[in-house]
Each structure stands twice: as structure tokens, then as C-alpha cells.
Subunit: 723 residues, 2 copies
């Protein structure tokens, strides 16, 4: 039986169809060829792949290299480092003491205004702060609470009165404080918190109340023990109108006695899964009165007579503007998580390069773990993702600095920054947890010992996935931005408009690092891509595949949600809920693309920090970027297959090719983790000190000498006799 | 342009091709139809889906229900439970004291022979032991070290002299002991350990030596502090021949003083990522002499004159036989991990059913977390997998009991048991970690507090993934068994033989629960499967898809490894390494199929434990099994697409259908976790006590009353005026 197919009308399957003409083993053959040497374009000379570790190390340090180096010198000091196994009270005390050391070393004031002794250096401040994770994540987060949240809220939500009155004590740690936003009943949905601050015209005071148990402030660092004040978020009520959530400076403890002030109560959150150097706790308020001027009034103010005013008319926009000023928490978690992933990989790859287990291809010599394909598969893609996350973080931090320094501080800039942070923080915090866990398992029983750091870091970083914005909630925010961008462009567009848009965009690249990347490729355009394995290595093919996925996912979801505006609120919510997983997947795809773009831009640059990259290093980094990009495509292979973007044969090649890349990068693994620049004083892992290599050498030498001396007993099995 | 395609010769694409005739929206339409009511076959009456929680609870308790219930009564006693935040020394002391309580309660002797006061009850022993995880995993593992490893080695590797001499002290805890197998240098590769036991004919003693640092015994429970003896694994050397690894009973400490005996030394492993109630440590030996009779001589003996003898001629088989007697460690970890996953889901689903966040479809009422699609997607598939793991564990435990009771104890039975344990333990231990983590994140900040148990359990269970056999190494063992079974059947088979075999097997089902499942379906047969979404619900379609995948993966790998026997050892090892990931994936697929079969058998049974299952409960469990089965297919969708087993359209339906199933099961979620039978005394999680529900009720009542009284301030945003 024969069927006639008109291929001109079925472009969507062209890729799969066209392949039938290809020799079936062509892909396998291509993969089996020896690694194609990279050649210099100008001279056609072969370029050897070799990493310039020193240069790459400097490149990874990024714009704020000096601050990072300084912070690393600090975290190398034992008195700032975590001691494993300290009890709760001792650990808290130690970390509070370490905060004082930071003050003494002038490490914590960079972000504050010059007028109060700071440096107005926002990017540098975060860069230095992130590195504290290598000493003790509790130290990082406790100083983040004091200066990054409590202090930053006074700075960004307050005005000069607050800066002059409160910042000096905050900066010097004379006034340790809590950032009292989250309540037992409301974490991600800050707008719905229950605490109220009601203005009393008679006394010109706010009265703070906790109306029910669910409105207790909860999980607050500095609340259980050290805090003498708090920036408290509450519904501002005046003249019987609720103007929404605002921030207030509220004293909570008598600094001299450590006792709660009248009307304030609380509880200790007790032991946690990690970060036990921080005294998280709960607070509640009963008729606590604070002066009118304690309202941090940059975005909303109360006159003496109780009249409310705000520079931002829309209560919704006002709320998001206030929260937006606190984006630095997410920015710094992105960087700190990436630093932790670097530490994990440096430990596991160093050990995997020394540890031997099982004789496979020899009678006597055991194999080095990292020579096993599976071990490569477990660690090399994580290494590639860590590089991607590192370069993406550098872009995020730069954007953050531009906004907060005022260099580029439009509404759009702020929105882009917030979307970028909301996209990258989920990926990097989850990646850190996965990497720490894979590293721990890859080190076997040794990985489970506290002396090798991995379990402690993992326990501490666990909560990074849900604080400063639950990762899923953040991805949902990103998705809403993508959908809204999409909606603005295509609100009334029919298919023809969309197709033209795609064709226009295919020519150039829209550099919009947080909104919808618009480099659209529809199915129509895609038949010609990735027709050979080699082509998958091309950055443009990877970009096309990754971008197309984001674009298509957003368009699909947008289409499904189209009826929502005409629906009742209840039905619209149900429709949205029915597609919630897809929505979040689209945001994740977008965030992955941003990481890939950042890696690619880092590779392609030739000026500034990138200047001086030699061809040999670029070859290694390009393989690593390819491993990241193709790894993403492999991870979502089902999507590419279901949407006809890759034929089955081609799809199989993707997996084979990432394996090949992992093997190709294997000899460079040590260089690539060495370039992270963390020394033994930062790793502090017994298995990454070379001790394993010594043990292996000693054992092999023992057997070698015994064999040479003829003292090694014969093996029963090699005698081949029945006992 | 037109192309002519001869479809008669391209059966592999028949599925994709055939679908073109189907209305494109047919799948979507079918999914959009209201849930089809289940009907009783005999009467066509509609069956309501409703779980008989009490009946299901009894069913889940399995064959050793009474022992489990007894153990749960015990773990409900506060003195046996973990206290969070104890220091290392206190925790160790507490757990050692708890072991004495177990002895006093007669909980630990079931597995030992009646001749020494035991009960010869192997399955019951493990069932009771597993439940200890709910009190404190340290208690479970420490008692596992004492009685399941140290004692069991004396029992299974020793003979009557050892039973009479050593077991009483071990059973009474008078002689706490270590299981000294692993060395710093060798974990998974036990055959390569360095410790030697050299027979001295002159004194009729063995001399124990640690030849180098890497041969120190390491990670041994009871070694740091409590152990006064050890079962030590060492290379047995006599007459200058090494007969391989054997076990010896070796005193290590003076019971009165707690000091090491002469020639013995050691170190504390210190703090670990979890299980800190156990005193893991290192041991080394320098010329330590033990009597000849301290060789545990069931599988290998030394005459007074130093002549070695063994009932098993092959050194390799002897070694694996010895190790095989210790399979119970893996069996019990499989059960304990599944118990921990049950605890995690009971906590997270109870909380997810009470916690509210964000108003979506209403102005005032917030949504219950479990009503969000994403929350369902995060928890419901994990619930399905936990049921699958639970039913699979019951089969494993039954098999274990049959072998160790002697009811079915052939070589094949033992091999099947070992393969089954090696297949299930990796899946269930990883599943427990993933479930604990997902539950922790699903509970947000509350999940991070020690008072809610999830972080502590996760920390403790972390090492389950790498001890008693690293999970990847175990899966590799399974794969080798699959390949060897395959090789036996098809060593010289050409394609025609294989095809006939497949057709033969397609008729009936080969029940071989650990070897290669042979229900082969080749591509040729597969065109007719899953042509509609509804069909995916059929057990036979799920079985076909899952079985086909295992079969095909094994056959593919076998084909690639075919040249190995003719290669040099080095080249063969390289070839094997080149396909290591595929090999392990095939084993994982096999293990997943075993879980699916166990779930399905549990559903289909009508006698014994299964008798009395009402139709309503069966409906719910069938949905849950479908969610598990289709979830596996979804997870490996790329494979099904690349191998032409599912068309793109059909593949998209799989994901939609698992979402639909999660939503359908959502109203039954609480029943399904309640059936696990763990009460508040086992959960001990503040968020799973109903406290959240009380808080939610209080908050909603507060707002309701205020609205009714007209005292709730108006919302600025609803006034719609500029402030």
C-alpha cells in the first residue's frame, strides 16, 4: 500500500520527514568520529582546549572582584566560620558576635548613604554579602536580616528623618532589629496580613494590634532574642479606611534588660532544619503605641490630622513599589546559592578525581570515580549549570546596581529587575540544593560526615527555596509578566500579525533580559534547524530551540486564558488554576533561557572583563555552554518531540551528545572548579584536602611493593583449584 | 512536491500515522468530558468513589499487621522518641538507653533461633524494626546495627558454636557490637577491602592487621563508643593463599573500662548530616590475635593445621552467598523509607487541606492550598508512588520471609530476593528524600521548623541512599542480572527467534518478579495500543507500555555490549562504561515496573488480605494506580516518543490525564493518608494537629464578625478615590 503525501503543506513535520533520506547510522557515525579539533578562524590552526584558570578565576569574580576578594579574605578567618555541632544557644551567640566583627571591619555599610557614613555602593554591598555564605550561611542571613532587610527597609521606605534617627544605630548594631513582615497565616501573600496600625488623631500615634493568632509575626530573624526594634508591616488604617500594607519602626525590647516592651509578646521558633545561628521567632502586639513619625513614609504618609497621602495613586502599584525596594534579598540569595554550588562541586570533583573504586579495565588498578560515565553524568551538567547561574547572577547584580545607584532607574528598569530576580532566584536556589545533594551522594558515606561540609550547607540552604518569596510563587510572578507582555503585543492580533511579528523578530535579537524574549521561531521556521548533530553545537540552533519553547509555551497558555477577562472572578480563577502548572513551566523555561543567554554573552564578549580570553579557554567554556544548552533541551526533550521541533532520531542524538560533551570536558573538570577561586580555608572539607590521594597512593604502593617482594598471598580464585 | 511513502514497510510509525485520521480535538474533548462514573460490571450501577479508611488501613499493614501495630504502640511512647536538638553525646546516650528498652520489651529477638530464645520470625522481625523509624531513625539504625547486622552476621555466617557463645550477649545488649565491613578506602567494592586475617598455625589464631590508612574500618555504628566487639570482615589468608573476604568475631574494647584492647585503635566519625544518635567511628588493627574458632565458618573454615575448606567451591559465588545473607538491611531500609514518606505526606496533606493562601475566586475567602493545581501536582503523584512502594515492599518482605524461613529457599529464590531488594531499595530511599523535601517546601517556612519533623527526618534518611549499598551500585547489580537473564535466553538468537519469543510471551504473563519481565511487546505490536486516552487507563495498556520499555532498553544495551566478550578486559570495561547510564536506566525502569505490578496485584486481589475490598475503595485505588502508572509514562515520555511508542498527540494526553487524575483524587487525599494509620503520637508535627484549621477559622470569623458589625475599615482600593 502506498500513500501520497504533499510535503509542501505540512511544514510542521518537515524535520521528521526529511530525515528519512539521511543514512540511518549517520548520527551515530558522526558521534563516533574523534573529537573534531577546534580551529582558529583566521589561521585554521588547531586550538588546544585548555583552561587559563587564573584568567577565568578573575573573570568569574566579575565587576565587584575586589569586594569579593576582600570578603573571601574575611571568610577565611576562623573566627567568622561555622563550628559544626554547636548547640542552638552557642551558635546564636557566636553568630551575633560575628556580626560585630563585620561592623568592626567596615563590611556592612556599603549600601548605606554617604550622609550617614555609608558608601552608596549597592552592587558591591551585595557581592560582599553573598560571599559570607562560605563562612556560615547563618552569618550571611543574620547580617542580611540586620542590614539587608531591617536596615534596608528604613533606608528605602523611610525618609531623611528615619535615616538620620535610625540608621546609625542599625549600622553599628547598637539596635539589632527584626524585619516583621511574614505572619503565621500569611507568607507569600503579604497584602493579606492581619496586623493593623490604626492612627489615633488624639495622640498622633499609631496603635499596633494583632487581631488573631494567625496574624502573629513569624519566622523573623532577631525576633527570638536579639532584636530591640522591628520594621513592622501592618495595614495602615486612618479615618476608618485601610490604605494597605505599610512599614513602621517599632521598638520591641528594652535594650538594657532584653525584656519585651509593654504590649509586645513573642515566642522562639526554636530549632530549625538549618541556619540555627539565627534566632527566628514570633511577635504579637496588643495596643502598642508608636509616634506618627515612625511610619516609614516614603510611599505613603499621614498628616497630623490623619489625612493619608501618597505619591502613588494606585494602592496596588504603591504596594508593589514598596515591596520592590526589597528586591536585594532575592538578588543576594541568587548569588549565595551559586557560591554554595561552587563549593559543593569543588569538593565533589576534587574527591572524584582522587577516589578510586572497582577494578574495571585492569587487574590491579582501580578506576578514578570521575572516569565513570555515570559520575560524569551526575556532576558535569551541574558544573555547566553552575557556570550559567554564575554569569546570569553577574547580569542580575549589574542590573540591580544600575537601578539602585540611579544609573538606570525607570519604572521599566525596576520591573525588569524584579522579574529577573524572580526568575533567577528559584532556579539557583533549587540548583544549589540539587548540587549539594548530588555532591553528597557522589562522595558516599564521606559526604554524610559533617567534616566534609556538604550536609551542613545543604541543611542551611534548604530554606532559600521558600524564603524571600516561595520559588513557585516567584515563577508565577514571572509568568504573569510574560503573559502581560504577550498580551500587550498581541491583544488583538490575529494569526497573520503574529506570523509577521515572528518573522520580523527572527532577523534581530530583542535584548530584553527579563520580559518576554521575542526572538520568535514558529514551527514554520523550524524545519531547517538541527538537521545534523554538529549543528546542535551552534549557539544559534540552541537559542532557536530554547527561545521557541518559551515563546510557544507563553502563546499556548495565553490562548487558553483568553476567555478569562469575560468570565466571572470565580470562573477566571478556576481557568487560571487549571493551567497553573503550564504557567509555571513557561516561567521556568524563560528563566533557563536567561541563564543560557548570560552564559553565551559571557563567552562572546571580547571587551571589558572578557578581554584577554584566550582561544583555548573559550573552547572549553563553549563546550560547557553547549552542555548547559543541550542539557536543557534534553531535559525538555518530551516537549520538543511532542511539538515536532525535533525528530525522534535527532532527539536521541541530543542525549548522546551531552554524554559526549561530559566526557570531553572531564579532563577540564578540575580546572573549571579551581577557577571558582575557593581555597581550602573556604572548603574546609577533609576529603578535598588531597588526603584521599595520599591514601590511594599509600595503598597502591603497599600492593606494588608486596607484589615486587613476592609477599602478597596468591588469590584462591587465580589458583583455580577447589579448596 | 509530493513524496510517496510505502506504509506497509514502516510499521514503526503506524501509531503516529494512524492518528492523522482522528479528529484533532478528540483527545481534548474526551478529557473535557465530565468524569466518567465507574459502574459495577454485574449490575451497571454507578459506583461512588469513597475510601473505606479502616479497611484500607488494615490492608496496608500487610501480613505482619500485628507486629506493626505492636511496634507503633511502642514508638508512641515518648521515651523512645527523638528529642530534637539534643547534643551529640546526649543523643547517643539516649538512643543506647532506648535499645535497652527494646530488649526489655522483647522487641528485638524475633529473628533469632528458638534455641537461643528467639522466635525464628524473619518477616515479623523486619516489619517491627522498620516501624522504629517513626520514633527516631537513629533508634532504627542503631538497633539495626546491633541485631540486624552485628547479630545477624553471627547468626547467618556463624555456626552453632557462635550462636551459643555469642548470640545471648548480643541479644541482651550485654555485648554491643560493630559491623566492621566498610573501610575508608572501600565501601561498595567490599571484595577489595584491605584488612587481613592471617592464620598462624603455631598458635591456632588469626592475626588481624590493617595494612594502610585506607583500610581503616569506617562509618561503623557502635565503633566510636559503645561497641565491645565487632564482626570484622577481612581477607582470610592461610598458607600464603588469600581465600577472600570472611567474617570474624573480634573483641575490641574492655567492657569494664571502655578502653580499646591492645592492638586496636580508632576514631570517632563525629557529627554527621543526621542519625547522630549513633556513634559511628573508625577502627584499625595491629597484630590483633583471635582464636581460630572466631572465624564465622558457615561458608568457609580453617582446620587446625591451616587447611581451608568451603561448601562453595567458587570464591566468587561464596563471597556473594555470604553477602547475600545480609540482604535484610536493604529490605528494612525499603520499608522504613516508605514509612517516612507516609509520615511526610500525612503531615503535608493534612496541612495543605487546612492552610489557605490568596483569594483567587472570591473577594474574601482564601483558597485551601490543596485546591491549587500545582499543589496537587506536587503531592498527589508522590502519594501514588508511596502506595506503590508500600505494596512492593510487602512483596519484598514476603519473599524475604520465605527465603529465610526456608519455605522457599532455592538458589533462584535467593537470587530473586537479592535482585528485588537491590531494585526496590534505591527507588524507595530516593523517593523518601524527594517526598520529605517536597513536603517541607509545600509547608513553606513552617516546614523548615524542627517542630514539624520534616527536616529532621530528611536529614536522617539522607544516608539511606548510599548505605547498605550505594543506590547506583545496586541498580547496576540489577542491570547485570537483567542482562544475564537476557543473555541466557538470546545468546545465539537471531531476530526471528526473538520475534517468535515476543509473540509467545504476549499471550501470557511470565510472573518472574525480579528477573527480566518477559512480557515483550515489540514496536511491531504496538500500533494498536493507547489509541484513545481512555485506553491509557486500562491496566493492560499501562503494563504493555512499561514492560515494553524495560524489554527494549535491556535488548538495546545487550546489543551494544555484544562485542564485549571478544574484547580485551580493558576495551570491554571501556565499552561497558560507555553505556553505564543506559544500563542503570534500564534497571530503574525494571524496578518501576515491579512497583507498578505490585500495586496492580494489590488492587486485583480478592482473597486473603485483599478480601473485603469494596468497589468504592477499589475505584479510588485504581485511580491512584493509574496516576502512578501514567506518571511513570509521563516521566519517560521522551523515551516513548523517541521509540515511536506514543504519538506526539497521545503523549500530550498523558500529561493532561495525570493532572486530571490528581484533581479527581484530591477529595480523597486525606482519606488516603489517614489510611497509613499514623496518629499524632507518630507525626508529632505542630502543623498537622489541626492548629492551622483553628487559626484559619479564628481569622475568618474575625473578619466575618467585623464585616457584620460594620467595624471593618473600608479598603482604599475599593473606594476608588485618589488619596
Amino acid at each position: 500500500m502506498t500513500t501520497t503525501v504533499d510535503t509542501t503543506s505540512s511544514d510542521s513535520t518537515r524535520d521528521a520527514r526529511g530525515e528519512d533520506a539521511v543514512e540511518p547510522d549517520a548520527i551515530e557515525n558522526e558521534l563516533d568520529r574523534p573529537i573534531r579539533p577546534e580551529r582558529r578562524a583566521s589561521t585554521n590552526d588547531v586550538v588546544v582546549a585548555r583552561t587559563d584558570v587564573e584568567w577565568l578565576g578573575r573573570y568569574l569574580l566579575g565587576t565587584w572582584a575586589e569586594v569579593r576578594m576582600g570578603a573571601r579574605e574575611l571568610t577565611a578567618r576562623p573566627e567568622l566560620q561555622r563550628i559544626e555541632g554547636l548547640g542552638l544557644d552557642e551558635h546564636r551567640e557566636r553568630v551575633f558576635g560575628q556580626l560585630k566583627l563585620l561592623v568592626e571591619n567596615g563590611q556592612v555599610h556599603r549600601a548605606f548613604p554617604k550622609s550617614v557614613g555609608g558608601e552608596d555602593d549597592h552592587g558591591g554591598n551585595i557581592a560582599g554579602f553573598e560571599e559570607l555564605v562560605t563562612a556560615d550561611p547563618s552569618l550571611q542571613i543574620k547580617s542580611g536580616v540586620q542590614w539587608g532587610l531591617f536596615g534596608a527597609a528604613v533606608l528605602h521606605l523611610g525618609t531623611s528623618y528615619h535615616h538620620e534617627t535610625f540608621l546609625p544605630g542599625i549600622m553599628s548594631l547598637e539596635v539589632p532589629g527584626a524585619f516583621a513582615m511574614t505572619e503565621t497565616g500569611h507568607g507569600s501573600d503579604v497584602a493579606a496580613i492581619g496586623t493593623t496600625a490604626t492612627y489615633d488623631e488624639a495622640t498622633q500615634e499609631f496603635v499596633i494590634d494583632t487581631p488573631f493568632r494567625g496574624a502573629w509575626k513569624d519566622y523573623l530573624g532577631n525576633a527570638a532574642k536579639d532584636g530591640v526594634a522591628a520594621v513592622l508591616f501592618a495595614q495602615l488604617v486612618t479615618k476608618n479606611v485601610n490604605h494597605g500594607v505599610h512599614a513602621f519602626f517599632v521598638p520591641i525590647r528594652d535594650a538594657a534588660t532584653g525584656e519585651f516592651l509593654p504590649g509586645v509578646g513573642g515566642e522562639d521558633d526554636g530549632l530549625k532544619g538549618g541556619l540555627n545561628g539565627i534566632d527566628n521567632g514570633r511577635l504579637h502586639f496588643d495596643g502598642v503605641r508608636i509616634p506618627r513619625v515612625n511610619l516609614l513614609n516614603r510611599y505613603g504618609d499621614i498628616a497630623e490630622d490623619g489625612t493619608y497621602s501618597s505619591p502613588i495613586a494606585s494602592p496596588g502599584r504603591r504596594f508593589f513599589t514598596m515591596l520592590g525596594t526589597l528586591v536585594q534579598g532575592r538578588v543576594s540569595l541568587d548569588g549565595a546559592s551559586t557560591a554554595a554550588a561552587k563549593i559543593a562541586l569543588k569538593i565533589a570533583i576534587t574527591y572524584g578525581n582522587e577516589r578510586r573504586q572497582f577494578t574495571a579495565g585492569s587487574d590491579t588498578d582501580e578506576e578514578v570515580l570521575l572516569d565513570y560515565q555515570l559520575h560524569q553524568k551526575r556532576l558535569m551538567p551541574k558544573l555547566a549549570t553552575t557556570y550559567a547561574a554564575s554569569f546570569a547572577h553577574e547580569q542580575l547584580l549589574t542590573k540591580f546596581d544600575q537601578v539602585f545607584s540611579g544609573a538606570a532607574d525607570t519604572d521599566d528598569d525596576r520591573q525588569d529587575l524584579e522579574t529577573l530576580a524572580a526568575a533567577l532566584k528559584p532556579l539557583s536556589t533549587w540548583h544549589a540544593l540539587e548540587t549539594l545533594q548530588e555532591a553528597r551522594e557522589a562522595c558516599g558515606g564521606a559526604g554524610f560526615l559533617a567534616e566534609n561540609r556538604l550536609v551542613g550547607l545543604r541543611a542551611d540552604l534548604d530554606v532559600y527555596a521558600t524564603f524571600e518569596g516561595d520559588n513557585h510563587v516567584l515563577l508565577q510572578l514571572v509568568a504573569k509578566r510574560l503573559l502581560s507582555d504577550y498580551g500587550k503585543r498581541f491583544a488583538k492580533a490575529d494569526f497573520g500579525v503574529l506570523a509577521r511579528y515572528v518573522v520580523e523578530q527572527a532577523a534581530g535579537r530583542t535584548v530584553n533580559s527579563s520580559g518576554l524574549r521575542s526572538l520568535g521561531q514558529t514551527i514554520v521556521d523550524f524545519g531547517s534547524t538541527a538537521r545534523s548533530v554538529g549543528q546542535l553545537r551552534d549557539a544559534s540552533a540552541q537559542r532557536q530551540l530554547l527561545t521557541d519553547r518559551v515563546h510557544t509555551m507563553v502563546a499556548e497558555v495565553a490562548g487558553k486564558l483568553r476567555p478569562a477577562p469575560k468570565m466571572s472572578k470565580k470562573d477566571a480563577a478556576a481557568l487560571f488554576n487549571q493551567h497553573q502548572s503550564e504557567i509555571i513551566e513557561a516561567a521556568r523555561a524563560h528563566a533557563e533561557l536567561l541563564q543560557w543567554e548570560a552564559f553565551t554573552e559571557a563567552l562572546e564578549g571580547e571587551q571589558g572583563l572578557a578581554s584577554g580570553m584566550d582561544d583555548s579557554t573559550r573552547v572549553v567554556l563553549t563546550w560547557l555552554r553547549d552542555l548547559f544548552g543541550l542539557g536543557l533541551i534534553e531535559k525538555h526533550l518530551d516537549w520538543y518531540l511532542m511539538h515536532g521541533r525535533l525528530s525522534p532520531k535527532r532527539a536521541q542524538a541530543v542525549g548522546l551528545y551531552t554524554e559526549r560533551l561530559s566526557a570531553r570536558l572531564r579532563p577540564h573538570a578540575q580546572d573549571l572548579v579551581d577557577a571558582f577561586g575557593y581555597g581550602p580555608e573556604h572548603l574546609r572539607a577533609a576529603i578535598a584536602t588531597g588526603a584521599e590521594k595520599e591514601r590511594q597512593t599509600e595503598a597502591r604502593e603497599y600492593y606494588r611493593a608486596a607484589r615486587a617482594a613476592g609477599t602478597l598471598p596468591a588469590e584462591e580464585k587465580s589458583l583455580g583449584k577447589k579448596p
